[in-house]
């Protein structure tokens, strides 16, 4: 499949005989933004480190744009840009010098490409200052520019918004979103911040204890198939549901009627309510929050 930018197949990793990653597989297509969500210590960072060649999987294969990272390291890495845990730069140089130096290590990185990356992250005015005096947000921008100068097909961001203020997080998110939309770059973001993933990603992998416990689109994962009715007489509604449609239902603390139904019968149910003389105030589909989902699949506190 030519649109497969990243193919991770059955990778495991043991460090000091402790199995940290257990048989993880997932794919990433062109232009897709995938969130890697998991509590601290779940193995997000370890997995991403293996994807960018900083660490070797004990078993399994990783290929980027069709090149195996083990057998064809240089070709595979030419397609990747990454920030792994914070923007690490040479603080005794200027931001520009950092980009120049790192850019010179890839083929065909021109002056123009560097300038373009600098403009993209909005650092034109301070780019010639020493990194030592940059704020965290500025370093993060240069970190992103550093990952983009060689125009990669895959951008890997490990906890990219750690240490940023809300304003910084917002700007960072906008940059990544527009990148994915405009340039078709695939993005893999790991985070333990649920809202961040919900706002940025098309797809989410929830990882816990070194295993992927959920993999799917955000919308699919959140839908529960439950419908909520706000009625003037919910008890009567409940009776109608069980008598006419043979459906179990319950009332929540706000006296709203909730039932899991097939959406095809919803118009019919609503019509029955109205003909029975009930006042139908609101009907809506109940969604789990990503937080609920996250907590329900990762509900264990001890680090194994």
């Amino acid at each position: 499949m030519d649109t497969l930018v990243l193919n991770v197949s059955h990778i495991s990793k043991s460090i000091k005989k402790k199995e940290i990653i257990k048989d993880i597989s997932f794919q990433l297509r062109k232009g897709e933004v995938l969130g890697f969500l998991g509590p601290n210590g779940a193995g997000k960072s370890t997995t991403l480190r293996m994807l960018v060649g900083l660490s070797r999987p004990s078993a399994g294969t990783i290929s980027i744009c069709g090149h195996s990272i083990r057998d064809d390291y240089v070709k595979a890495m030419a397609h990747v840009g990454c920030i792994i845990e914070g923007p690490d730069l040479y603080d005794y140089m200027s931001g520009y010098k950092n980009l120049e130096l790192l850019g010179s290590m890839s083929k065909h990185v021109t002056q123009a490409a560097i300038d373009q990356a600098v403009t993209l992250v909005g650092m034109e005015n301070r780019i010639h200052d020493k990194v030592r005096i940059y704020s965290m947000g500025m370093k993060q921008r240069i970190g992103l520019a550093q990952a983009l100068i060689h125009k990669p097909d895959l951008l890997i961001l490990d906890e990219p918004t750690n240490g940023l203020d809300p304003q910084g997080i917002h700007e960072f998110r906008e940059i990544v979103k527009s990148l994915a939309k405009d340039t078709g770059i695939s993005v893999l973001i790991s985070s333990h911040l649920i809202s961040e993933v919900q706002l940025m990603c098309d797809r989410v992998c929830i990882i816990n204890n070194g295993m992927i416990v959920q993999d799917g689109t955000v919308t699919d994962m959140l839908s529960t198939g439950e419908i909520v009715w706000v009625l003037n007489d919910p008890i009567k509604g409940q009776k109608i549901l069980s008598e006419n449609f043979n459906l179990a239902s319950l009332l929540n603390e706000h006296n709203e009627l909730i039932a899991a139904i097939d959406l095809k019968v919803l118009p019919q149910i609503n019509a029955t309510f109205i003909t029975a003389g009930l006042e139908l105030h609101t009907v809506y589909a109940k969604n789990k929050t990503l937080e609920d989902l996250f907590l329900s699949v990762t509900n264990q506190r001890t680090i194994q």
Partner: protein, 333 residues
């Protein structure tokens, strides 16, 4: 590859280590050459007061010694083994008298040679450690190793570029030591001394100092020899430092380990010189220049060739292990 080496050199230069090293050297050399000049003047003063003569007339003393030696050479009773060394001393004395140079006057080149001879087993290795200890470990402690190793460049190339940059900088540092020590000490001594004759090539045969192979060279040629040995020692130290820098991932620890090895090694040599295995430790073999005076043998069985080979093996082994470890290492910072 050239770009990678240029990058590494840039990093080394921007870290301003070189300025620190030059600063240290200037302080040391100034103090030492001032001290030497001071001691020299004190000695002459003392000699003049002691002998009661108004001035210190080295020339007549030297001429007297020259005549003695020439008479001895004419004597039929002189043993064959003494002829060579006597002839050499005569030629040295003649040079000094003809050129009107007092043989014990300090000169810039002589100082420069003395300086590295004294520094070769501790000071110069320490300077190289300052230069090299954070080459890899520094990238780990700042986390920059992650941006460095996630480029489309294989790891061995990155380490090789670091090694080449380090060799270049080490060479530069040895050159700087030479130039600074000559220039600064000249300010005190006012005497270059490039052409002074020096006897070298003594060897130890069956415990006897053998002068058969002694040759006279100018002090400039001699200093080239001494500096080549210093350079060799520095490169070996640089290779070992690079290995430690890869292994410990922390600059302070790397410097600590190497200082302990350098200082502990001197202790080892001092206390355990009967124990044959000590002679295979790299620190014991650093003092290459002292072999040139002939009588030096810190531990039985050691010679210039032995030490050069031992150091070479240490350097090569360090590089091999360094490349292997660096290539396989999991980066977890």
């Amino acid at each position: 590859m050239l770009i990678l080496i240029r990058n590494e050199v840039t990093k080394l230069l921007l870290k301003k280590k070189l300025i620190l090293i030059i600063g240290l050297l200037i302080i040391f050399i100034t103090l030492l050459s001032y001290g030497q000049q001071y001691t020299y003047e004190k000695n002459i003063d003392r000699f003049e007061n002691f002998s009661g003569a108004g001035t210190y007339d080295w020339k007549s003393l030297a001429t007297q010694r020259l005549n003695d030696l020439e008479n001895r050479l004419d004597s039929p009773y002189i043993p064959d083994s003494g002829i060579a060394s006597t002839e050499i001393e005569i030629r040295q004395l003649r040079y000094f008298i003809e050129n009107d140079i007092n043989p014990i006057t300090p000169s810039a080149v002589k100082f420069s040679v003395d300086f590295v001879e004294q520094g070769i087993s501790l000071l110069i290795p320490l300077i190289i450690v300052i230069l090299a200890a954070d080459l890899v470990s520094g990238e780990f402690s700042t986390g920059t190793i992650k941006v460095l190793l996630t480029r489309a460049v294989p790891r061995w190339k990155i380490l090789l570029s670091k090694l080449i940059a380090l060799i270049l900088m080490t060479t530069l540092v040895v050159l700087i030591i030479g130039i600074l020590s000559v220039l600064i000490s000249y300010l005190f001594f006012r005497q270059w001394g490039f052409n002074e004759p020096v006897a070298t090539g003594f060897s130890l045969i069956d415990g006897q100092l053998n002068a058969d192979s002694v040759i006279l060279v100018t002090r400039f040629q001699y200093s080239l020899l001494i500096y080549s040995l210093t350079w060799y020692v520095s490169i070996v130290i640089a290779a070992i430092t690079l290995l430690i820098s890869i292994l410990v991932e922390n600059t302070a620890t790397a410097i600590g380990v190497l200082m302990a090895a350098l200082i502990g090694g001197q202790f080892l040599q001092f206390f355990l010189s009967d124990w044959a295995i000590v002679k295979f430790f790299f620190v014991t073999n650093l003092d290459l220049t002292r072999y040139l005076t002939g009588s030096y043998q810190p531990i039985g069985g050691m010679s210039l060739n032995f030490s050069i080979i031992t150091l070479g093996l240490w350097g090569l082994l360090s590089l091999m292990i360094g490349f292997m470890v660096f290539n396989r290492k999991d980066v977890l910072v």
